[in-house]
């Protein structure tokens, strides 16, 4: 029995037909699975190995290559702060330090209540609005420490709902 929802499993079966080989659908499947489960569990890896006909180690190789894929559970919101050149020049480092202080966690760590995970990341393609950060799939731009506080607060509220 699929580790993912029946709906997603059906979606995979349908979408698979559009790819030349089963393995070429692997990365999208990993992303969808991670979005649903929060991370790529050993069960999810075996499930995808079966789905693609690849050995499990091959799935793990791919996961380990991409930093946006993880085999460890994350918090509900993944706060990714960019500290690459443009952001760094406009205070990205300070934003990251501020997040660390506010959340009480460091790079790739998760808060005790499992709401936030913090990550220092490379360029997220928002240089024109630096400094920027990405929370799950949402972008937040032209950040200041005060703005960050508000953003984190809004997510905290969301988590409490």
């Amino acid at each position: 029995m699929p580790v993912v929802s029946e709906q997603l499993d059906n979606f995979f079966n349908e979408k698979m037909k559009e790819y030349p080989t089963r393995r070429s659908f692997l990365v999208p499947m990993l992303l969808y699975t991670q979005d649903e489960l929060g991370y790529l569990s050993p069960d999810a890896i075996s499930y995808l190995a079966q789905k693609t006909g690849l050995p499990e180690i091959e799935i793990r190789n791919v996961i380990s290559y991409y930093s946006m894929l993880t085999m460890k559970p994350r918090g509900k919101f993944n706060v990714q702060v960019c500290t690459n050149i443009s952001c760094m020049l406009r205070g990205g480092e300070e934003i990251f330090q501020h997040c660390k202080q506010q959340l009480g966690i460091g790079h790739k760590q998760t808060t005790a209540d499992k709401v936030f995970t913090l990550e220092e990341v490379e360029c997220i393609g928002a240089c024109s609005w630096a400094p920027a950060m990405q929370v799950n799939y949402d972008f937040h731009e032209n950040l200041t420490p005060a703005k960050v506080d508000k953003i984190l607060e809004s997510y905290e509220k969301k988590a409490a709902q």
């Binding site: 050995p55 499990e56 180690i57 091959e58 793990r60 190789n61 380990s64 290559y65």
Partner: protein, 786 residues
């Protein structure tokens, strides 16, 4: 593609267009260095060592990925190229420790050689080197991460070559790392291919690491003593208190039929040779106990008893069981000894394939058999029964490589879902015991599908299988012990109905085929000869008239008390055939073996023998490829079976010259011609030697003296000595050129059912094989390797 001409370092060379530049360079003796490139594996272009200058191309190009085109002008050793390689080495050495003197690969390391050549020992990098502690991944595989240069050869050979996919690359960029499939350990076929192919000291062998240095060993290429495939293994030997010790097995010269391949047995399971339980002194039973004795004493007891029984009860009261792991010369000698000296036809061996039935079916059909090399190049293959991945690892490798590299078509019919189904164009999963029905179906009897079909296999699969096979213009058919007797005939008849089909019968042991070709049968002389006339004339002797007993009949006769003496050479019938061992205590029992096996333990005399790695001779593999066995190890106290048999014959008062033709004065016999050099009484053997430009051998203990005779009198063994002694395999044709006699006792054919990690008696005394199995029992896991 048509040939093109290119210029490399001023030399013109012509090769088919599309050839990789690195391979084209090799043809004119120019070696372009490379770590990641490996012939037969997918291209990687990861190491950037093979950079060369090509005119009209602005940047340096990787010779391992550039296909040659007409008029290309290449420079492989310019200042620019040298500088580029030096810089690449500087990067490779960024995290690599510079401690060659303590590294296991020191002296045979490609990185060390390159660094010497391009001189990149000093580095501009100030950062500390990343370090990780060494890991043990399995009993035979160790991984030292900092030494890894990420060439991915191991990953590719394991996945593409072995179809095991147990190794992967995790992480990215400079922090990439080779990882095993089970987090911290490997679950695989333990073949050790990853270790052999590693250009540096990152992957090392549990059996060999830190024991010695490559230059301290002598390297002897010989034939593996385990399964029936006949891989060449190169044994590294060094001096030891008791003789020459075998320290490692590998595949360094790649000149054998196995090319790059060796399985766990060829690579690690030589270690039975110095097992503590090895017998190094003859044992003679006194007051009910086996006691150490001198060779003189033991041989005297054996010769005396054998002569006594022969004289008082006749040769028919003596039984002989031969070996599937002794050389052709020893097998030929043993049956000759049985027939001439003991005067009995009671001789048999552990049969694992029905070669006589195949010989009967293929008699006179030149080219109806295939060799092990042919399996790599045939456009299509049909495998019926057997599981080569477990029982014939080289054959499985040949099949996989042929499918992968030549797009050959593999057709499978098996009662089990064997692993090779993954390479199969058509896999017919048939019902248990359905092989006879399958052959009927192939022959055109559609009603046979009723007993043949298994749930889940549609009838169309079988129809497709038959149609496609019949359309194949050139097919190799391989079959296991499941097919015997009348089924072999049926299969041969089907093969004959195809445009071109060549057959291979799969037998289990290193010289099973040799034992069969050399006539270890009660009713067959060498070359599948049923009639005694030919050999009576060749040997100038009267052969025993009484029909011989098979192994089963002999044990029955022993139980009845009709068999008074038994001579068991390199075989353990008590373990193999389930009968009450007590029956063998009745006759006078002589056992020649390396270990105190179940059979040896109840013997009256035990004679300790040299194993296949400690003597020379020849082996014939399942497919009929004849190869030279070279002496590598040496152990004080033991003797080769050949010498023991000759010495027993001598002590029994037999003229040894009649057994082994040596010296200038040989056997005089009527040459059967009325005039010319061969008229009247002459020494047939000596005349033959002269005609072949061969010197008479000067010692009765020289197996080559007997090989002369084998080549002269055994049909199908007329081979080129030059080719044999140059270390390659030569094809023999005893099945097609032989006399096609059949042997009763098809029911005695039984597969040893050895797996990748067992090998009969030898396997029980191999530390490497036992530790792998022990490890599996401790950590049982899923079927990841499949």
């Amino acid at each position: 593609m048509p040939d093109v001409t290119i210029t490399v370092d001023g030399k013109k060379l012509t090769a088919p267009g599309g050839t990789l530049l690195i391979e084209a360079c090799k043809r004119v003796g120019i070696e372009v260095p490379a770590f990641c490139y490996y012939p037969g594996l997918s291209l990687q272009a990861a190491c950037r060592m093979c950079l060369v200058e090509i005119e009209k191309m602005p940047k340096l190009q990787t010779a391992c990925t550039v296909p040659i085109t007409d008029g290309m002008v290449v420079t492989t050793e310019s200042e620019k190229v040298k500088q580029a390689r030096k810089s690449m080495l500087e990067l490779v050495l960024g995290n690599h420790p510079l401690d060659c003197p303590v590294c296991d690969a020191g002296g045979e390391c490609e990185l060390q050689d390159m660094t010497f050549k391009y001189g990149a020992a000093d580095s501009r990098y100030m950062e500390g080197k990343l370090h990780k502690d060494e890991q043990q991944w399995s009993p035979v595989v160790f991984f030292d991460r900092p030494r890894c240069i990420l060439c991915y050869r191991c990953v590719r050979v394991c996945g593409e070559g072995m179809d095991v996919w147990a190794l992967g690359v995790q992480g990215r960029g400079v922090s990439s790392v080779i990882a095993p499939n089970q987090e911290d350990h490997l679950e695989c076929e333990e073949c050790g291919m990853c270790i052999d192919i590693c250009p540096v000291g990152a992957l090392t062998s549990g059996a060999y690491r830190y024991k010695t240095r490559p230059w301290e060993m002598k390297h002897v290429g010989t034939i593996c003593t385990h399964c029936g495939d006949g891989c060449k293994t190169t044994l590294g030997v060094r001096r030891h208190d008791t003789g020459m010790q075998i320290v490692r097995g590998d595949n360094r010269d790649k000149s054998g039929i196995n090319g790059d391949f060796l399985c766990i047995k060829g690579r690690y399971a030589f270690d039975f040779t110095d097992h503590r339980a090895r017998i190094t002194q003859p044992l003679v039973r006194k007051d009910g106990h086996l006691r150490p004795a001198s060779w003189e004493e033991a041989l005297e007891v054996v010769a005396h008893e054998f002569r006594d029984v022969r004289e008082s009860k006749g040769g028919a009261a003596i039984g002989v069981i031969g070996s599937t792991r002794t050389t052709n010369e020893e097998n030929y000698l043993l049956q000759k000894f049985a027939r001439l000296v003991l005067q009995t036809n009671n001789i048999d061996h552990h049969r694992t394939a029905d070669f006589p039935a195949l010989a009967a079916a293929l008699k006179g059909k030149d080219g109806a058999t295939a060799g092990m090399r042919d399996v790599f190049s045939a456009p299509a293959m049909l495998l019926i029964g057997n599981d080569p991945t477990d029982q014939h690892p080289l054959l499985a490798w040949q099949i996989r490589s042929n499918v992968r590299l030549h797009k050959a078509r593999l057709y499978l019919a098996n009662t089990q879902p064997i692993k090779l189904r993954r390479q199969a164009a058509v896999f017919a999963h048939i019902a248990d015991g359905g092989y006879a029905a399958l052959l009927k179906f192939l022959a055109g009897d559609d009603s046979a599908t009723a007993t043949l079909l298994r749930d889940g296999t549609p009838r169309e699969t079988l129809i497709a299988l038959r149609d496609k096979i019949k359309a194949e213009p050139d097919l190799i058919i391989m079959f296991g012990a499941e097919i015997k007797g009348a089924d072999v005939q049926a299969l041969a008849a089907f093969a004959a109905s195809l445009p071109k089909a060549r057959l291979i019968a799969l037998a289990d042991y290193a010289n099973s085929r040799g034992a069969s070709d050399m006539g270890l049968y009660p009713d067959l002389l060498p070359g599948y000869t049923a009639s005694a006339d030919h050999f009576a004339r060749e040997w100038d002797a009267q052969l025993p008239a009484q029909p011989g007993m098979s192994l089963a009949q002999m044990t029955k006769a022993a139980a009845d008390g009709r068999l008074k003496a038994m001579y068991v050479v390199g075989s353990n019938p008590v373990a193999r055939f389930d009968f009450d061992p007590f029956v063998l205590t009745k006759p006078f029992l002589v056992v020649q073996d390396m270990f105190l096996t179940n059979t040896a333990a109840i013997a009256d005399v035990v004679l300790p023998v040299a194993c296949a790695y400690e003597k020379s001779g020849t082996f014939t593999n399942s497919a009929g490829d004849l190869q030279q066995v070279q002496k590598a190890g040496d152990l004080a106290g033991v003797k080769p079976d050949f010498e023991i048999i000759v010495r027993i014959a001598e002590r029994m008062g037999f003229d040894v010259r009649k057994l082994v033709p040596f010296g200038r004065e040989g056997v005089r016999a009527d040459m059967g011609q009325s005039r010319g050099a061969q008229s009247g009484e002459a020494d047939r053997h000596y005349v033959w030697l002269k005609a072949q430009n061969l010197e008479p051998k000067m010692s009765p203990l020289d197996p080559q003296a007997l090989f002369d005779e084998i080549q002269r009198v055994v049909p199908g063994y007329q081979i080129s000595r030059a080719a044999l002694f140059s270390g390659t395999e030569v094809r023999t044709h005893a099945l097609t050129a032989g006399n096609g006699g059949t042997s009763a006792g098809t029911d005695l054919i039984r597969s040893s059912n050895d797996t990748l990690f067992t090998s009969g008696t030898l396997g029980r005394y191999s530390h490497a094989l036992n530790s792998v199995m022990e490890n599996r029992r401790r950590a049982p896991a899923g079927a990841a390797a499949d």
